[in-house]
Symmetry: C2
Subunit: 414 residues, 2 copies
Amino acid sequence: MALIVQKFGGTSVGTVERIEAVAEKIVQFRDQGDDIVVVVSAMSGETNRLVALAQEIMDYPTPREMDVLLSTGEQVTIALLSMALEKRGYGARSFTGGQVRILTSDIHTKARIREIDGTRIHAQLDQGNVVVVAGFQGVDDHGNITTLGRGGSDTTAVALAAALEADECQIYTDVKGVYTTDPRVVEDARLLSSITFEEMLELASLGAKVLQIRAVEFAGKYKVPLRVLSSFEEGPGTLISLEGDEKMEDPTIAGIAFERDEAKLTVAGVPDVPGVAYQVIGPVSAAGIEVDVIVQNAAEDGTNDITFTVKRSESDRAKQILDGIQASIGAREVLLDKKVGKVSVVGVGMRSHAGVASKTFKALADESINIQIITTSEIKISVVIEEKYLELAVRALHSAFELGDPDYEKDGGQ
Amino acid sequence: MALIVQKFGGTSVGTVERIEAVAEKIVQFRDQGDDIVVVVSAMSGETNRLVALAQEIMDYPTPREMDVLLSTGEQVTIALLSMALEKRGYGARSFTGGQVRILTSDIHTKARIREIDGTRIHAQLDQGNVVVVAGFQGVDDHGNITTLGRGGSDTTAVALAAALEADECQIYTDVKGVYTTDPRVVEDARLLSSITFEEMLELASLGAKVLQIRAVEFAGKYKVPLRVLSSFEEGPGTLISLEGDEKMEDPTIAGIAFERDEAKLTVAGVPDVPGVAYQVIGPVSAAGIEVDVIVQNAAEDGTNDITFTVKRSESDRAKQILDGIQASIGAREVLLDKKVGKVSVVGVGMRSHAGVASKTFKALADESINIQIITTSEIKISVVIEEKYLELAVRALHSAFELGDPDYEKDGGQ
């Protein structure tokens, strides 16, 4: 008998029919004797409906009132799911974030969870009830309703699992788990049975957006075993765990992540003096533009080239900013290349295995793909390349590291 | 500067446009320097939408979860109205029933208010904010969400006015106030500028359903001055107050109430022994059928006729019950007349003014309307008559007691 926290997102509870299906799934676990705490999002479409109502009134609705408004979305779902469980003869009790004292900071629309008091939930579990908690929401010290911002329900689930010392936190989603790369790009991409938190962080931030990065960080920090699995299909999904835990596969490389729609900016010929990188990047960040990889290389003439990437949609704005400061920082020129993409090889194994970098470069060279930028971290090698080679590069690397599903031929890609 | 509690029902906040109009109205009072606490219902249609969702799952949804579900309706409105006020530059703070500690009994879907802690509201008013409270809802001792049942938002408003010692509780509705009778039946029905609580209770329960009877009782008990007025038109409405307070009109009669769709049941020839009335009425009430007027008259042969009225829609069921017990109570026969209506003359003045009864009977006799049943209370005379004479009776009595609007000819019925 285990204590499991299960989270179902908006698509999984998008209709009454789907809420009934979720109830069926929960009931299976109850029948095995598990204690279940369920976290749910608003029914898909509901949040948009509420936002539209608010925006009929104001373009930028009062954040405090926005939280009062949006938090009703999950409240509807908890009530309906509890009814669906009661209908099946299983005791269920719904709770809003405030009712189970999910205490947060007071930054409306993007509050952070500070503390959860598990007393009330444990009391309900002891009485044999399924506890159904509204995700995405909490209360501040003064009892004002707060919401956690994008992906907040994942965070609620992980935080609850940590506070309750749950045996596992299961995030149900519309994919079967985490794959070695995007199956739409590489046909034989393999479902990973497990992955480490660090690998998941790199994969999530690099484009495999199965789970919100904040929830993964939280789970890693509090050592909550996290499992990603499908609401709609059977299967064990992917366990995200501490390094070495139940790590069944080849430990070297977990997967190949990639990011389309990047743009590369180069500020060439800046003086090689302290503070120049800050002078270049500072104004771009200050404009709210997210900067991804940054590299700097000293040239032999005592100047530097500083190169970084941004989202393509923000690249023109970044270029304008740099053009504006070019003279004052004494740069020779500002170059923009709007057609680049990024591919990353991710795996904790590369810490202890030499040769991952050279194998990466060889695989790309074999396909005559030119590497424009290389950056590395302890568990990741990223390269920026011409965008038209992106899919080719992903497939080449996936194959070079032998990540393909050995059963692929057999079952036709399923 | 006064403290005013204002309540706006579902129709008054049915669209974003109407919520904006409500905000405009509130702003006018703020500009006069009044402190305002607003109580709102769910947007019209929203409660039905939520009920339909629940009933897709269960025919009789779990009451606790029904309250969690339905309470979101008002929560949406408080957020939107607060935004509309903020947009106009007026500070506003929304609160759910739980947040302002509207403590209720734990009978889900029909809880009763026990206590309200006004501290938080007073603190907000002191800061110059309009306080917007979700009607219809509260929390029980364990923090579970409760709802008050039909008309609950009126009750919330009155209870808040009592707890905060407000100067006035204003109930905004889709009529201009309380009339001497239904203007659809009597063209020159007059808007009353004031009425007593007792008169209002009699008029409300008899068909002039402007205000929920529970809210009127509550207001009377806690001596909260209550005003009914229109959300959509200007005008002072009708003040419901303690007897004598600002009572401007002729004190004798306040109005003529009436009830259509009644049915009359007579259990004839029952033995004149103690307990027989209970034997007749008991089983009918036990079946959940609401009994209205009851009269009993001893005949000369030592038997009794017991006559009472019920809603027409429930009369067949009542007849069946009586047929079933006829033999055991020794009644001669059970008669059902499905075509009756009730007309009532209401006014605190009749306590001290003789002749109201005889004037009533004469007015009906002049129109050759036969009276089937007469019942009286301290401030009311009710007669049951053949239904086809109902409108005629109402007009005759309205005219006999000179209740018509003296300005009617002038302004064409406005």
